[in-house]
Every structure is written in structure tokens, then in C-alpha cells.
Symmetry: C2
Subunit: 226 residues, 2 copies
């Protein structure tokens, strides 16, 4: 019973995530083409071939349909951070993992088209307050995850005030970098080449996180802690 529950639960969770992403893609496309206000729930539903009611079962609001597309990249980064070994510097770990991903030997093949769509949504958020709210809500989730990661690394509880400060600052640093990179890529006619230097990119993220946490997060730990 336990095992059964767990297995079907996991299955449907994957299915659910895939479907949400699919809906998100169509919604993002529509948002970009016609604007958020001019895109109705019915149109999103039609575009993905579902009933409108089902859309609202998977998303709380129209704007939150953009969330999965926008979160893909960030989720990947969080995964990378979660695998960060204690006795390694953040710079080293990020460069290693990110080049690894580009070479395809690690998990998720975040589609280039999806990344572009994500950047467009973040760009749209500049002029569409509702989208901005959705983006910030997504980043809020990231912040919580970040607190877990930081707390674990420093061996402190997640609700510790200092941990929450670190988590929040680190998360917003990542957010700002994402916004900046997205803006630059879009301004350059959707050309990624400026950021093809993966180690440099990794260094920027690492440095930002290190600075935002006042140096508390970034260095290798000589691991006196269990």
C-alpha cells in the first residue's frame, strides 16, 4: 500500500510536471505574441488542446502559467548547488557541473527554445505587473530552497535568521544575474554567444553568491562538521 501509493504518486507527479511544462510553453508563446492581457485562458487551453477547466486545475492563475518555463533554468542551478561537495569551492563546482551539463553527461537537456522563452517572459515582466508577480513568486520558492542548501552547508537550521538572510541574498543575486543575462541576450537579437564562455559565467554566479553572503558561502569547507 505504501509502496503502491509512492510509485503511482511519483508517476503522476512526473506526468503532471510534463503537462504543466507543455501548457507553460504554449502560454508563454501566446503571452509573447499577443501580450498577457490579450491572451485568455480559453486560448491557452485551445492551444494546448485541453479544456479551460483543466488549465485552472494545473495553474492557480493565468500568469502563473509562465512559471514552469521560467523556472527550468533556475531549478537546474538549484540541483547543481544541491550536489555541491563540502570541500570544493563554489567556482570549481559550478564550472565543472555546468560544462558537464553542456557536454550532455548530466541530467536535464534544458531546451534552448525553452530558455529563450523564459528570457522573453522575464522581459515581459518588465511591462506586465502580473507576470512580474509570478516571477517573484517563483524566486521566492528558489529562496526557500536556497535556505535549505545554505543551512545544510553551514550546519544550521533553515529557520535560523542568519541562514535566511544568506538564502535571500543569494537567491536575489541569482535572480538579478538571470534577469541581466536574459536582457542582454534578447537585446543582442537572441544571440547566446556572449555567454558561451561557461567558466566565466560560472565564476560570475559564484562570485555573486559569495559576495551576497558576505563570503559565508563559496569557500571549500575543511569539514570539521559531521
Amino acid at each position: 500500500m505504501e509502496a503502491h501509493k509512492r510509485s503511482t504518486g511519483a508517476m503522476s507527479e512526473q506526468r503532471r510536471a510534463r503537462l504543466r511544462l507543455e501548457i507553460s510553453r504554449e502560454a508563454a508563446r501566446l503571452f509573447w505574441d499577443k501580450g498577457v492581457a490579450a491572451t485568455s485562458g480559453d486560448q491557452i487551453a485551445a492551444a494546448v488542446g485541453l479544456s479551460t477547466r483543466t488549465i485552472w486545475r494545473h495553474f492557480r492563475s493565468k500568469e502563473s502559467c509562465a512559471e514552469p518555463i521560467v523556472m527550468q533554468g533556475v531549478v537546474t542551478l538549484l540541483g547543481v548547488l544541491r550536489r555541491w561537495p563540502r570541500r570544493r569551492s563554489l567556482e570549481d563546482h559550478l564550472t565543472a557541473e555546468l560544462t558537464g551539463i553542456r557536454n550532455g553527461d548530466t541530467t536535464p537537456p534544458v531546451d534552448l527554445a525553452d530558455e529563450l522563452l523564459a528570457m522573453r517572459m522575464i522581459r515581459l515582466a518588465d511591462t506586465e505587473p502580473a507576470l512580474r508577480a509570478a516571477w517573484l513568486m517563483a524566486c521566492d520558492q528558489v529562496e526557500r530552497e536556497m535556505c535549505v542548501i545554505v543551512g545544510e552547508r553551514l550546519g544550521r537550521p533553515v529557520d535560523d535568521l542568519e541562514i535566511r538572510l544568506y538564502g535571500a541574498s543569494a537567491a536575489s543575486a541569482v535572480r538579478v544575474l538571470d534577469e541581466h543575462i536574459g536582457a542582454v541576450v534578447l537585446a543582442a537579437g537572441e544571440d547566446f554567444t556572449e555567454f558561451s564562455d561557461v567558466p566565466a559565467l560560472a565564476r560570475r554566479y559564484a562570485e555573486a553568491i559569495r559576495t551576497a553572503t558576505g563570503g559565508a558561502i563559496g569557500d571549500p569547507l575543511d569539514d570539521l562538521i559531521g
Copy 2:
């Protein structure tokens, strides 16, 4: 004509702000008493004695009605930061200004009841996603202001990437502190005494901002810059 426009503009802007605050108070009261979902726009309008249509003229959404109440305190802090002299440490400036405010010799008498209401709204945001979104949107505005302040202090443009990183980290540090203090006060039965030590409070804010900016913001400047 110019002068006239300007004066009436300023007048109506003040009036508008006062009215928004008034609406916000009633909305916050209702949100806290009955929950956000159970509070309708009509009820807010009735509570403040306006037509529902007028509510929507002053607020984009139901949840954003909470914004002015919640922002009062933060706006005050931003004002204090804007007056921060270059050759003074953040700790010194904050303690001086905040004790000054408490003593009433500086600008805004942020009502205690309003502060309490604000804390309640932030607390409610834990369980009401729509309120959380509104709160994050408000903090997003704070972040922009923070970038201006930081940029001016460091003599760099506001859209400079590093400035934006500092601004974002500082703003989220302030946000986390606000959330924490609010939570503690509410948990203590709405008792502020734990935070009556104003210098200690100021030191906490200053230290948080200093850490979040990797030490770039906080020290006095020996002002080689014009």
C-alpha cells in the same frame, strides 16, 4: 499654469496617498478578520464608504489593497537611507535617525496600529499566496529605490550590474528582517518590547545590509568623489 498644475498635482497626490492608506487600513482589517478569500471588493468599499468602482480605480487588485499599510515602515527606512551622509557609518546613521524618529522630532509618525496591521499582513502572506505576491511586488519597488541609493553612494549608474546586485541583496535582507521581526512580535502576543532597544535594532539592519553587499555598503566614505 505650470505652477498651478504642479501645485494641484502635488495636492492630489497627497490626497490620493492618504485615501489609499485609508482603504488599505480597512482592507487589512478585513483580510485579517475574515481572510483574504472571504473578503470581497464590495465589502472593502462598504467599509471605507466608497463605491466598489472607486476601489478599483485606486488599486489594481484586491490583494494590492494591503500594499500601502505594509509599505509605510519600509518607506520610512528608505527615507532614512536616502538621508545617509557619505562620511558616516550606516550603524551610526541608523541609530541616530531611528531614535530621532521615536522621539518624534523627524517626519512621519507611523502609527503603532498601522505597524501591527502591516505585520499581520506579512504574516497572512505565509498562507495566502496572493498576499505574498503583493508583498513581494512591494519589495521589488523597494529594491529599485535601494539601487538608486546604493548607486548614488558608490557613484555608479543604477543599471550597473554590480549596483543591482547590491541593491537586490540589501533589499532582500531588509525584507527578511522585517518578516522576522513581524513574526516575533506577533508570536509574542503583539508585544514590541523585545525590539524596544533601538540601537540594537539599527545595528542589526546595518549589519545585514553590510553583509549582503559584501561590505560594499555600510562604511563611511572618505569621499574622494564629488
